[in-house]
Structure formats: C-alpha cells, structure tokens
Symmetry: C2
Subunit: 415 residues, 2 copies
Amino acid sequence: MKNLRGACLFGQSGGPTAVINASAAGVFLEAMKHEQITNIYGAEHGIKGILDEKLIDIRQEEIKELEYLKNTPSSALGSVRYKLKPSHVDDTDYKRILEVFKKYDVRYFFYNGGNDSMDTCNKISKYLQSQKYDCNVIGVPKTIDNDLFGTDHCPGYGSAAKYVATSMMELYLDTHVYNTGMITIVEVMGRNAGWLTASASLASIKGLGPDLIYLPEQPFDVDEFVADVMKVAALKENKVLVAISEGIKDKEGRYISEYSSKLERDSFGHALLGGTAMVLAGIISEKTKIKVRPIEFSLLQRCAAHIASGRDIEEAFNAGKMAVKYAVEGHTDQMVAFVRDENSEEYKISYQLLPVELAANTEKKIPDAWIKEGHTGLTDDFYKYALPLIQGASNSPVEDGLPRFARLKKISAKK
Amino acid sequence: MKNLRGACLFGQSGGPTAVINASAAGVFLEAMKHEQITNIYGAEHGIKGILDEKLIDIRQEEIKELEYLKNTPSSALGSVRYKLKPSHVDDTDYKRILEVFKKYDVRYFFYNGGNDSMDTCNKISKYLQSQKYDCNVIGVPKTIDNDLFGTDHCPGYGSAAKYVATSMMELYLDTHVYNTGMITIVEVMGRNAGWLTASASLASIKGLGPDLIYLPEQPFDVDEFVADVMKVAALKENKVLVAISEGIKDKEGRYISEYSSKLERDSFGHALLGGTAMVLAGIISEKTKIKVRPIEFSLLQRCAAHIASGRDIEEAFNAGKMAVKYAVEGHTDQMVAFVRDENSEEYKISYQLLPVELAANTEKKIPDAWIKEGHTGLTDDFYKYALPLIQGASNSPVEDGLPRFARLKKISAKK
C-alpha cells in the first residue's frame, strides 16, 4: 500500500459499449478531487497511445463535456486491440511504457476493458513491480459480453441487455402483425458466452420474447435447430421468433457463421459477408418454405446510448470513481469488482477489489442450471440476476431532437 | 355532406410503424365522444378482417389500454397486404364488404395506411357511393417511407427518421473508435423514395453523419460507388460511413439487392438471404481490401417505439382524431393531410382534407434540389423540412425497465 504523488493515466480498450465513457467520467472527475494527483492524462487508443506517446491533457477539457461523457457511447479516447507479448519473450513495449510513465511521472494507471484488457493491465502492473517503479494500477471492468471472472456483472452489459430485450419486444410485435407466417432469426453478439443473447429472454417476462434461444454454452446442431423451429411453426401459425448467439458452434467446434466463409458469391462473383443468422435463415428457408428474415443487431447493440440502462451508467461511473479512490488509498494490481449483496431483498452492489490477474483471460459463462431444456429460454434465476441490471432510464441530454454527446478538445499533453 | 348515425369501423394496413397505433388511439378515443357513433369496431388484419367478419368490439377494451396504444409499435389490430381488384373486374370482395357494413350498420369507415391502403380506401369509398350506401370514409395516412402525395409528411416517418439519425450518430462513434480502417455500409428502408435514408444526414448536423448517401431517386452506379468510397477512404484514414437505401437501382432499373438473388450459397449449398448492403460490402471488400461491415436497420427502424418522436406520436394521434371529427361533420371520400404553415417561423401543422383518390398510388419523392452533388448528403432545405419532425421524446411508459405496451382483450363483435 503506497500513497503516491504524481500524474494519473487512463486508457480504454476493446469493443465499445454505451457506458465505457461513463467510467472515464468517473475516473477523470474523481481524480480532480485529489491533490496528490498532479496531472490527468488520457491515452489515445489505449496502450497504443502510450507506446506512441499520444496522451491527452484532460485538465484542459471543460467539466461540462466530461459530464456529457456519461451519456456518450463508444470510447471517446479511442480504443485498440493490442496484445502485449509476455515480457520475458519481448520486453520492448514494456520498456517503452516505463519510459513514458517516467517522462510524465505517471503514478496512477487505470485501464478500462474486458478480458484481454485486464491481461494487458496485469502484465503492465507486474512489469512495473519488477522494475521497482511505484505506480498504483487498477483495472476498470467493461464488456457487453458480461464474461469477466470475479465480478457479479460488467459495466456495459446492462445497457446492451436493455437494448436487446426492448428490441426483441418491439420485433415480436412487428413480426406478428401479418396473417401470414414468418420465421425471424435475430443474431446477438457474444462469441463465447451467451449472457447478452440470454437477455433476449427478458422480453418473455412481458409475453413478447423469442420462442427459441441458442447460446454458445451449448453445442449447436443444425438438424435439431430445424426440428425445433418447425415444431414451433406448427404450433404458432408459422410465426417463429428465434434469438441466436453469433458464437454458436457445432459439435466439432466449428462456428456456424463459418459455414458461409467460402462459397457465397453474388452474381458478379463478389464475396458476400454474412453472419450466423444469415446462414441459418438460408437453411430454414430451404427446409420450411416459410418466409425467413435474418436480423443482426450488429454494432447497434453495443452503442445504443439512447436506451442505456440508468443503473448501468451509474455503476460504470462508480467503477471509474472507485478505481481512483482505491488507488489513492494505496491499492494496486487490482480490478474493481461488483459484489451483489445476496442477503438483501433489494438490489445492492458494493465495489470491491480483485487481484487483476484473476480477472485476466478467464471467461465466465452462464450456469447450466439457468438454461431451460430444448432451447426454450432461461429460468427465473436468470431473470432475477439480469432484470435489476436494465433498470432506470438513460436520461441522455438531447439537443435539436438528437443526442448531445461529449465534444472533447483532446489537447496533446506532449512534453 | 351527410350526418350519419351508426357504427364506426377502423382498420390498419401495410407495414407497421412505431406510431400507427397512436392513430388508432386517436380514432377510438375520439369516436367515444360522439353519440351518433353507436358502436366502435376494429378490423383484424385490415380489409381481411372485414371480409372474414373478424371485428373487435373496442368499447370492451379498457380506456387505459387504449391510451397505452399511443406508445405501442406495430399494428395492434393486425395488418395485411391485400390489393382489391377494380370492382368492374371482380366485385366479389366489394359485395362482401357492403354485406358486412350493412350487418354491423357501419356508417363511418377509417382506413390507416400508405399508398396501397389509400387505394383500398378509395375503391371502397367509390363502391359504397355507387351502391348508394351512406358511409363517411376517411383515410388516415401512415408510412415510414413518407412518400404519400398531398401531405407535408406522413405519421411514422418522424419516428423512423429519429431512430435512423440517432443510430447513425451512435454508429459513427462506434465505427471511428479504432486506429484501423473500416468501411461501414448501412442499409435503410425505402423501396422507391429516399426520405428515410435521407434522414441519416440529420446526424451530420452534429458532425456525426455518413460520408456518403445513396438514394433511390438517383440511378446507382457500382463503379462510381467504389470510386466515391475510395476517395473518402483516402482522405479519412480508411474510415468511411455510408448510408444506402434498400431501393437503389442501376441504370437498367435492376435493384442492387437482386445482384445476390441467384448464386450465393453457403458451403452446404443453402441459399443466403442478403440485402443491398451485403452485396455492396462484398464488392467493396474485394476492391479495397479494407475491412467492411454491412449493417441493416431492418425491422428495427420501423418498430423502435422506445425512441419514437414525441411530435410524431402527437400528430399520429391527431390524424386519427381529426378523421373522426371530419367524418362526423359529414365529410367523406377524403384523406387527412398535414399542411405546414410556410409563413410561420415556428413549425405549425394543420390537419386538412384531400380527396383520397389523389393520395392513392401516387409517390412523392425527394426534390432533386435537396440532394447534394456527388452523393455527399442533403441540403439545408432538407434539414429544415425534416428536423422539426423528430422533435420531442416518446415518454413511453416503462414497467420493470421494459416498455409497457397496450394489452387488448380483442373481444369479437360477432353478431
């Protein structure tokens, strides 16, 4: 536990979310309250911005704009996907990072992201320790996939889940409007964990959810899928609503989306870029002769700040704020983890610390017991878990009928 | 002008919108105020419900639920796509309609939809006149395509436009987050008119709009498209955001989406169902080697009640209300048309009448003068036209963090 004096540096990494900037706001606005934090820097494009010495001087931003970050989707500082090699294999990047940290007297480092980003955060933390460079390092969790180990849930998930559940309800009404059949296959993000696809089932609480849900936690069988769909079609006048995860794989471990990787061509011979829903729509179309519509929520599900969960925004902000508080108290080498009070009737979260190495690279999946038989949805235990996370309106500021997002000046902190 | 006494019948037709039920609420709640309206019926699946005598007794619904209709997307009574043959070719359907009207003493008929639905409304109106059956018939406009002739704009458009503009802003931030290139092609609905695709340009008011916009009003040339995209890519570090209308056609009049109609197959030989964006993404991918992502707003753009325009909801409600008022005053054979006060500084709309035959089957397109050269967007004149239509929040009721949609009992009015 060391109480340090110096600059703080914050970086964003991995896929954007609707609330990752709320964590940035939490870090920046809290950092301003502590006199031992002498400067506040943001790294452009995460770790890449450190290596390239592209740091932004946050103190030159207007407070009002930092407040607007709470409702601005995507990563305002820019994101990156960059995997650090282990330092014993190649320490070039680590040396450069230390050099930049020394130059800017960085004594507080906060890194915001998912599994891979926590891996980066962990590696930097361990390297700085090995070099006896005093710097308190805290990871701030973030991922719509909700698959970080050691935290009840991840900032970003609640908002994406709210988007998915709300859109499913709207789609249910839309796809049931005609007196003719239609099979709608909705593809939701999630490569290895089905948390976000599972959130489609929250629409079922209102009677407007998907008939079938397929998660990457279970092997996917095309024949079984076709049989499932035809069974529902027979019962429900050919009106079927299906939610599938982009990450479903067959027994051999092959992604269903890869079924379309080779042969599809348009009539001029150009490649067609389709996803999982498109592959399955083609199969169902041929097998049933019922009209099929594949729908991909695509990037919309992770950036739809206009329907972010109010609770998610607040918690993402607090995650950033608490990271600074803990660091200033002298904690290091940790990630902020959400712990739910299981004894409380009401939903209650506390922000605790978890060694960052535990969060790095470990994936949390949906418990088997929460998944209903026959791909028919999720159990009440899942509802009890997920429903509190989508509560509260985003109350995003609006100007001219359009969102008012933060406008940062991004003035270079170059020394 | 005849003041009639009897039942009123309301039907919904064509593609759903976020606010078509607001018009239903306007019709039903206004109809209850007039003692000469003896019964209030809703037709299930529009004209099909009349032919099948599937009428719902609206007086048996709770007022509270009829109020919830204002924020419930899609067509609560069910919709239909059914084209009546001209009565001189085959009058079977017309005779059946007259029979049902007589049986239920229908003296007020309201039909809610776009071009095709106004055609239906017009044909029924003319047939009833020819049979000397007294019934006041008023069309209520509706279409996200905004292509109805004789009205400043159409209910449904403002909400879809707000969804498209807001989502484009969010997508802009998401697609510009990495330090690597990406070309994003977003497909917007609109088969023949580009109003909805054009609304993507409203995001440009906030500096977060698409670089290129392609409308069905102009012939589409694939080579020109590739050149346009590569030009922007060269200027903007390979980050390009494009909005295209699903209805773009080449010089020969062939839809670009049809380019994919024959050959695409997955590796098991199943058909792949792709749209315009997918076809173009394949072409761009091969020509530029930059990462390309096609995104379809799909059904989401027409059913996203959670981000409906407050003004659109209000106007859609008023359109239904005014239809009843005009009919009770004795007007018939008309459609409610929106007229904008061009002399007023502030946005001001009045609800006037237009002979329904003028609205039937005529498409209104975007004026050439509003379309910028080189597919770079729309002019200020378009902004001045469209921006007022997306103002105001939906204020949709929420329960458990999810939308509270209307729940109708739909009790049969069978006699």
